[in-house]
Amino acid sequence: MKQPPNVSQADFAAALKAFTQIVGESWVFTSDEDLELYRDSYSILWGEADERTASAAVAPDNADQVVELVKVANRYRIPIYPISTGKNLGYGGAAPALAGSVVLDLKRMNRIVEIDERQGYVVVEPGVSYFDLYNYIQGRGLKLWIDVPSPGWGSVLGNALDGGVGVTLAPYRNHFEAQCGIEVVLPNGRMMRTGMGALPGAKTWQQFKAGFGPRIDGLFKQSNYGVVTKMGFWLMPPPENHTTGVVKVPKFRDLIPLVDIIGRLEQSKIVQGLWMLSSPTTGTRGDAAHGGGGSAVDPRIAAVLNDPGGVDMDKLDAAAQFVGVPFWACEFNLYGPTKLIIAQWECICEALREIPGAQFKLEQIRKLPLPAADLARLFDVGPLGIPSLRTFSLGPMISYAGADVVGHVFFSPVIPRTGEAAIEAMDVFAGIARKYQLPYPPLQFPSSIFERAFLFAVGLPVTRSAAVNAKVRAAFRELLTIATARGWGEYRTAPAFYELVMDVYSYNDHALRDFLETIKGAVDPNGIMSPGRYAIRARQP
């Protein structure tokens, strides 16, 4: 049996016995077969000595049991690692950040504690998935919509705590920003509620984020300061209609005014739905994180795209203009009453007509919900507030460096929301992809999933070959170095890279990390809570 680090066999056995007394024998897992399920299927360290595997797993049924488990963990100095549903493959999955930790598996805690159609919020436990919440709402005919990530099988609460994002309207896409009110078991076993939840009998816990005094909810995002056992989220009323509108502009450099103008429309809240950038030159739509179907590419364009030395944008620009293919396409998701959609579209067209040669097409406005047959034909139903796993059907799996690809990790820097930065990032990351011969499309585009910055997610292949995975890790390190030098930081990363990424957030001799570790030392002096997560260590005073 694997042991937690720095814990004697006797103490570990005593802790497991105490865990069993709290949750029952059925819910403590120590066999190799059971612990196999607590590996990250997409681990970039798979099968290596450094792979973060669990020594045991414990599955409580409720927050009171979590309190008792945390107290036992403190008594025996057992590192525990809470997971919600463990489905965030590539970002750790169900695996701990520190090898030998005991996974605190919260998926049995799957209660929808409260849902309020009138005020538009829900309170959930960690085990509630997007599928669960969607079906709960649909089953009761509630007039509410949820924002979902892709894929949508994960935990609502866990996705928010990990900094996850969705694809509908801007105020709801950043899932942590859409939360309101947290219940958390602190590392000393004390339960706390944030915001208005600190007021016993509060009537506005899910309606007023600020609370009284410092707003500390953010301390529980991407951190290791406690076990979040309940979380409130703002939900949106279901839009009456949906459609997409596509704007195409002819030239490569048109990207700069295109992004600027859309940015102004977003800042003034005229554009609220997700918009996706693509290039008709490639025959595909899609952003960096979500691919799509393709169409035939003109051979004169294909010759430029397939140049082994990389795509020369000036040549591609010239070829596209010669053939008459617009260089950029921008697809807007539009929601709401028909008159609002039409008004939004008119504003978009009016603003973007500044760009010579811009073309506009508004698709048919469809009343929601769409018929099931129509939904079945769509590749991605996320923009319609419906969770799915369709992203797993994205094209064939491929091999990399002679090894089967079994998954991916993302390098996910946040770059400025400008056309110049997008052009620079496309060039820089394509260069790294060529150097490492990564399976990478000829052009890759930034995603507008965040409100004021671009996300440029570079997918890196994960295999079961240690040698190939080491090569991918080397590519990651180079990407990080290059991005950091340009002032582009990652928003989220795989556990194997926590230390590397935290290390580059080094302003004023790592003042931020020092602050986080001072807090960690104060609230978790025994360092039992999610050690290693986001590279925040307990600092002793």
Partner: protein
């Protein structure tokens, strides 16, 4: 293959599994109410289904490694028929399969597989508060 499945429909309960939200409640019922599942799916679907089924106590105990390359692949059809007929021996210890699992390499290829429930169910229906 469709004829084979149609013939078995009279003796075995057959369900179409979809992993989308709209079919989620039905999938939950299938996983909740059954102890052995035998099926055919793409590798990508099996990858997802297996992970969802874990929470209901299922473990993958057998999977055909031969993938159909073309519709008239007789050998593969025989493999699938063996699985669906229960002729394929169930593995004694399922863990190695989970450990060694690799998704199907090519979209559209199919696996035949068996899952058995032998572990505690994490998800026994969502509880009301």
């Amino acid at each position: 293959m469709s004829a084979f499945i149609a013939a078995r429909r009279g003796t075995l309960p057959l369900v179409g599994v979809q992993l989308d939200a709209t079919a989620h409640a039905g999938l939950m019922r299938v996983l909740d109410e059954n102890h052995i599942l035998v099926g055919i799916s793409s590798g990508a679907t099996l990858f997802c289904l297996e992970r969802i089924a874990w929470d209901f106590g299922f473990r993958l105990t057998g999977r055909s490694e031969r993938c159909a390359r073309k519709p008239d692949d007789d050998a593969w059809r025989q493999v699938v028929a063996a699985y669906l007929s229960g002729a394929h021996p169930v593995a004694i210890h399922p863990a190695p399969l989970a450990r060694d699992y690799r998704p199907s390499r090519a979209d559209g290829t199919l696996h035949a597989w068996i899952m058995q429930k032998a572990h505690p169910q994490f998800r026994q229906g969502r509880r009301e508060v």
